[in-house]
């Protein structure tokens, strides 16, 4: 793996809401963020500091009001809707705090979904989805619908889904926020494994300092500015 390749390169990112209206708000005030391929980075900060807003921009779900953003050598600002869909589909795996599994669809169908949008054939889709469910330890629950699963189980299905198209980046916004610490740790271990074994770049938002400490690098956000950056224990582990 090329340790020096830049995966995420955002410069001077400003995000305003309700532009032109009375209640116009500037949430991000010119953020510079650079994440290398294979890094496992966490973003911490108080509630309302703009972590999710930043993550949505990184994940191409939202566009910055100002600034530049290059994702894996692609200019995300210039890209059209369809290109953005394509990049989200192939390069990014999302893990949300509230899981966002499709209700009424089985675990298997949920994991298949990104592959469906990528045009993967039924057989291959099925096989890969089962393999991924196996990997997260959810193979037995393949035919269960989300409302029949516990929070931790749902999150594992969501992670399997995030991995469906072999993404280069996983973006996880408080993936353990709704889980107890043991289950949270289990999810963390899974991320670390994916990061080490597959070289997937991971950006994690968390409110848990212990979990943040396990990552390579910790960015602290406050009122829309990055106010601090330090290395976590994960970085040392990596060096070993």
């Amino acid at each position: 793996m090329d340790e020096n390749k830049v995966m995420i390169d955002a410069r001077g990112v400003i995000k305003k809401f309700n532009i032109g209206k009375e209640n116009e708000l500037e949430i991000l005030h010119g953020i510079d963020i650079r994440i290398m391929e294979g890094e496992f980075v966490s973003i911490v900060g108080t509630s309302g500091s703009g972590k999710s807003t930043l993550m949505n921009i990184i994940g191409l779900l939202d566009k910055p009001t100002e600034g530049s953003y290059i994702l894996d050598d692609i200019d995300a600002i210039a890209a059209k809707d369809n290109e953005l869909s394509h990049i989200r589909n192939r390069k990014i795996g999302f893990v949300f705090q509230n899981y966002n599994l499709i209700p009424r669809a089985t675990s298997l169908n949920n994991v298949e979904l990104p592959m469906l949008y990528a045009g993967v054939g039924l057989r291959e889709r099925r096989a890969r989805a089962l393999e991924l469910l196996e990997m997260v330890g959810m193979a037995e629950r393949a035919d269960h619908k989300p409302d029949e699963l516990s929070g931790g189980q749902k999150q594992r299905v969501a992670i399997a889904r995030a991995l469906a198209n072999d993404p280069s980046i996983i973006l996880a916004d408080e993936p353990t926020g709704a889980l107890d610490s043991v289950t949270g740790q289990m999810i963390m271990d899974l991320f670390r494994k994916l990061n080490l074994e597959r070289g997937i770049t991971i950006v994690l938002i968390t409110h848990s300092n212990e979990l943040a400490e396990e990552t390579d690098r910790i960015l602290t956000l406050k009122d829309g500015n990055i106010i601090g950056e330090r290395r976590g224990t994960g970085a040392q582990e990596n060096v070993c």
Binding site: G59, D81, N82, F96, P103, N165
Partner: protein, 421 residues
């Protein structure tokens, strides 16, 4: 992708069956009415054509009617007099004048309707005196025995043709057994006897369509020579109406206009109150078809409104669905769904609702149409192209009314959709 969308749509709709049903109800009602209207309308038109066929396309009827008064009003004239009627003399002269165009008069006079009893068996009958032309018009299919001959007619013999239904009732369906047997019948307190010379096949509907009851209990026609019945009843010298049969190939429209014109000029010029008019079966059928088509159109308009309301219902429920599933739409977009695939997903869903409504509606329509027409005793079938047309129409309805909501879903901003509470 289409297959997947179809599956998603099915599972989505299956998850809320009642709602799906209610959504499709407008379509169901609209389409079933369309099918019913088509079926019943066609059946009525067929019936009209059929009755023209059986009553004869070359027949036209002359009848005496009031002369319109000077101010154009009717209904305030004196009562009938014998001299107002169409006399035998007039008929003869008319036939003479239109020789080569008119074949003759068709005489069919119902003498009586009664019940004929033999031991514990009985049959309802209608006794009819017919002349040769009228008998020919009946186009009877003889099952056994012989027809009434010209000499029977000429010599006013007491011979009769009975229907197979009559034989079923009185002779257990044995046609041969019926031949040579007698029909004993009371008319005006006088007792008459006819000898059965032939058995004919009763037509499918004996002109009693729509009257419900069992056809076997309806009176069937017995035909005897008209001269015989005239001799018995003292005879008719003048008529309120007569049926004339044109020669094959004659211009019916022209005859229907020319004959009454000539008769009025010749015989009714000095009549102060009455004249004759004519109509032919063809114009009657045309009138009837026109009427049926007008009714059809009116009902179609109502059905169209019902469909429109149904379509708006589909649109409405699709908007609700999309609002309810905003987060799902956001998730799908995050996972890589393009705007187009979201649009297709919801259009497919609308099409599937409409198609299901279409299938149910068409089935109900076919069943109801069949029920109504078989009650009318008119053979019928719903046209396949009509059914296919309705199904295609319902699908296009789905596209039409699903497009707007689906497009709304497609254009959602992914993050707004994901954050939607």
């Amino acid at each position: 992708m289409f297959v997947e969308n179809f599956k998603i749509a099915l599972s989505q709709l299956a998850a809320s069956k009642l709602r799906t049903f209610l959504t499709a109800l407008g379509i169901i009602i609209g389409l079933s009415s369309v099918i019913i209207i088509m079926t019943v309308g066609d059946a009525m038109n067929n019936m009209a054509l059929e009755s023209m066929g059986s009553m004869g396309a070359n027949k036209f009827t002359l009848y005496v009617t009031e002369k319109p008064s000077d101010d154009g009003s009717v209904g305030n004239v004196r009562d009938w007099k014998e001299s107002d009627k169409i006399s035998n003399d007039m008929i003869d002269k008319t036939l003479e004048h239109f020789k080569g165009k008119i074949k003759g008069v068709s005489l069919k006079e119902e003498v009586t309707q009664t019940e004929i009893t033999q031991g514990n068996k009985s049959a309802a009958v209608s006794l009819n005196g017919v002349n040769d032309i009228a008998l020919e018009q009946e186009k009877l299919k003889l099952l056994a025995g012989n027809n009434i001959t010209a000499s029977d007619m000429k010599n006013s013999r007491s011979v009769a043709l009975v229907s197979d239904r009559y034989v079923n009732k009185l002779y257990d369906g044995d046609w041969q057994a019926a031949l040579g047997k007698q029909v004993e019948i009371v008319v005006n307190n006088k007792y008459y006897i006819y000898t059965i010379v032939g058995v004919y096949q009763a037509p499918m509907n004996d002109g009693f369509f729509g009257s419900g009851g069992n056809i076997d209990d309806m009176p069937s026609d017995i035909f005897v020579p008209v001269k015989t019945t005239e001799r018995q009843s003292g005879g008719n010298s003048a008529f309120y109406n007569i049926d004339l049969i044109a020669e094959t190939g004659a211009d019916m429209e022209a005859l229907t206009a020319d004959v009454p014109q000539w008769i009025n000029d010749t015989f009714y010029a000095s009549n102060d109150a009455y004249m004759v008019e004519a109509y032919n079966m063809q114009s009657y059928v045309e009138e009837m078809t026109d009427m049926v088509n007008t009714i059809k159109l009116a009902f179609m308009a109502i059905a169209a409104i019902s469909l429109l309301v149904g379509g708006i219902g589909v649109m409405n429920i699709m908007i609700v669905t999309i609002t309810e599933r905003t987060r799902e739409i956001g998730t799908r977009k995050a996972l890589g769904a393009t705007n187009n695939s979201i649009r297709m997903q919801f259009i497919t869903e609308a099409v599937v609702v409409c198609l299901m409504g279409g299938i149910v509606g068409v089935s109900l329509g076919v069943a109801a149409g069949y029920g109504i027409t078989s009650f009318m005793k008119v053979p019928t079938f719903t046209s396949i192209s009509g059914i296919v047309g309705c199904l295609l129409f319902s699908m296009s309805f789905g596209v039409l009314f699903g497009y707007l909501p689906a497009n709304k879903a497609a254009k959602m901003n992914p993050i707004d959709a994901l954050r939607y509470e």
